[in-house]
């Protein structure tokens, strides 16, 4: 037995040990990462102060635009020196963060147009709304018109949260003008929590994962993985990604009524970490893990990795988490740093280079099982960091009590 493993007091152990100072590269990198993220947060906040008049001018390039002297967040659009239109703006949370909508109102209190002035959503989702003539349902309507999904307001399938965000921002802007300018009393929007079938199945899957922590049943685990692929992936398209963590720090979290699936899944995973000290998402509920699981079963391949990859590639997910947060903070757009191909696989909505990431990652996972989870997933890395921090804290508290 070496001295290291021995707890018996002896002369050797009681002798004063010389102080050793060792350069810990890992700690230095972690410190630099935290400092750079804090700096990026503040730089992003200062760089991205919106100038609404420029955004409005981009919509009406030839018009003379001035801020209203008696209405908040409202601009007058002039023609031949006379104000002919009002644009009132309001901000609501969309899928990826805040979206600012400008509602253009005529002198007789009718909505002429609804324009998105700024958003943090994936551009493909916003394009989907334009392609489906989503905005037309707001046009030529009285300024005090209220909305209720399914009755007098159509959401675009696959972009439900963005649709609701735009509707709420438009209603806030239009109703403000209805009250302040036209003396009307519009019916306020109901912010009810609407649960769908996918939410109930998601809750059941979370429950099964918790039960299986005790049972450790392989068949049940596989069933949950495949069900999460169908429900959390294809039905709800509700994955945990690095954009959620950026949004958390930037204060862009959706409301409970706005995105109940996010709170159900995120809440359960967070509670699992805090209460059980376990990450119940990775390898159980993550639908992209399920994709990799299915690919691996189909191929039956497990290509060997280069020793350098084995040794160093585990750091890639840490770098990915840092880079994803950096881009999210610098641009104040959480989805800008979200490089995960999850959403694209289930919605087939993407843009530019995202179309290269998905096949590259899917092909790689076909040959090397769970390659994305093992080496590249920033959300998995974030959940692991939180779990480790929680467990370290709990052990420290228990140690202090003893």
């Amino acid at each position: 037995m070496s001295c290291k493993d021995c707890s018996t007091p002896c002369a050797s152990r009681q002798a004063p040990q010389p102080l050793h100072w060792r350069l810990d590269i890992g700690k230095i990198f972690r410190l630099l990462a935290v400092i750079s993220l804090v700096a990026a947060y503040f730089v992003g906040q200062s760089l991205n102060q919106p100038s609404w008049i420029e955004n409005i001018q981009a919509v009406y390039p030839k018009a003379d635009i001035t801020p209203s002297d008696h209405l908040d967040n409202t601009w007058e659009i002039h023609k031949d020196g006379e104000p002919v239109l009002l644009m009132s703006i309001a901000t609501e949370n969309g899928y990826g963060g805040p979206m600012t909508v400008g509602t253009v109102i005529t002198q007789d209190g009718m909505v002429k147009a609804v324009k998105i002035l700024a958003h943090s959503d994936t551009p493909a989702y916003i394009q989907r709304l334009s392609n489906n003539f989503f905005y037309r349902q707001f046009e030529n309507q009285p300024v005090d018109r209220s909305f209720e999904a399914g009755k007098n307001f159509d959401v675009i399938s696959g972009a439900t949260i963005s649709s609701n965000g735009i509707m709420k921002a438009h209603a806030a802007a239009a109703h403000y003008i209805a009250r302040a300018e036209f003396g009307k009393h519009p019916v306020e929007l109901k912010d009810d929590i609407r649960l769908s079938t996918s939410h109930y199945i998601m809750a059941a899957l979370i429950l099964l994962v918790l039960i299986n922590i005790r049972l450790k049943n392989t068949t049940l685990k596989v069933a949950v993985i495949l069900a999460s692929l169908a429900v959390i992936g294809f039905m709800a398209n509700q994955m945990i990604n690095v954009a959620n963590f950026s949004a958390l720090f930037l204060g862009f979290l959706p409301t409970l009524a706005g995105n109940p699936g996010f709170w159900l899944l995120g809440g359960a995973v967070f509670a699992g970490i805090i209460v059980l000290g376990r990450n119940i998402y990775c390898g159980n509920l993550c639908p992209f893990y399920a994709v990799q699981f299915v690919l691996s079963k189909i191929s039956g391949l497990n290509l060997p990795l280069h020793p350098l990859i084995k040794r160093y590639a585990a750091n890639l997910s840490k770098i990915g988490l840092w880079a994803g947060l950096m881009v999210g903070f610098l641009t104040t757009t959480p989805t800008a740093g979200s490089y995960e191909p999850f959403s694209m696989i289930f919605s087939l909505q993407g843009e530019g280079i995202q179309w290269y990431i998905m096949p590259a990652v899917v092909l790689a996972c076909f040959f090397v099982p769970n390659l994305f989870c093992r080496f590249l997933c920033p959300a998995g890395e974030a959940l692991t960091r939180i779990t480790v921090a929680r467990n370290t804290l709990v052990h420290a508290i228990k140690g202090a009590r003893k």
């Binding site: 760089l47 290509l303 990859i309 881009v327 740093g337 280079i353 290269y356 092909l363 090397v368 590249l376």
Partner: protein, 40 residues
């Protein structure tokens, strides 16, 4: 029992997995740089 594979097959496997890893990492890096430049 683990399957025995020849040295050349193992080398080919290492080359393929390394290429796939590099392509996946490069595409992610390109996306992040592109995203940053587009949003700033």
């Amino acid at each position: 029992m683990a399957k025995q594979v020849s040295g050349s097959m193992k080398r080919t496997g290492i080359i393929i997995s390394s290429v796939l890893m590099v392509v996946a990492t490069a595409s992610i890096t390109a996306f992040l740089i592109d995203s940053l430049t587009r949003h700033l």
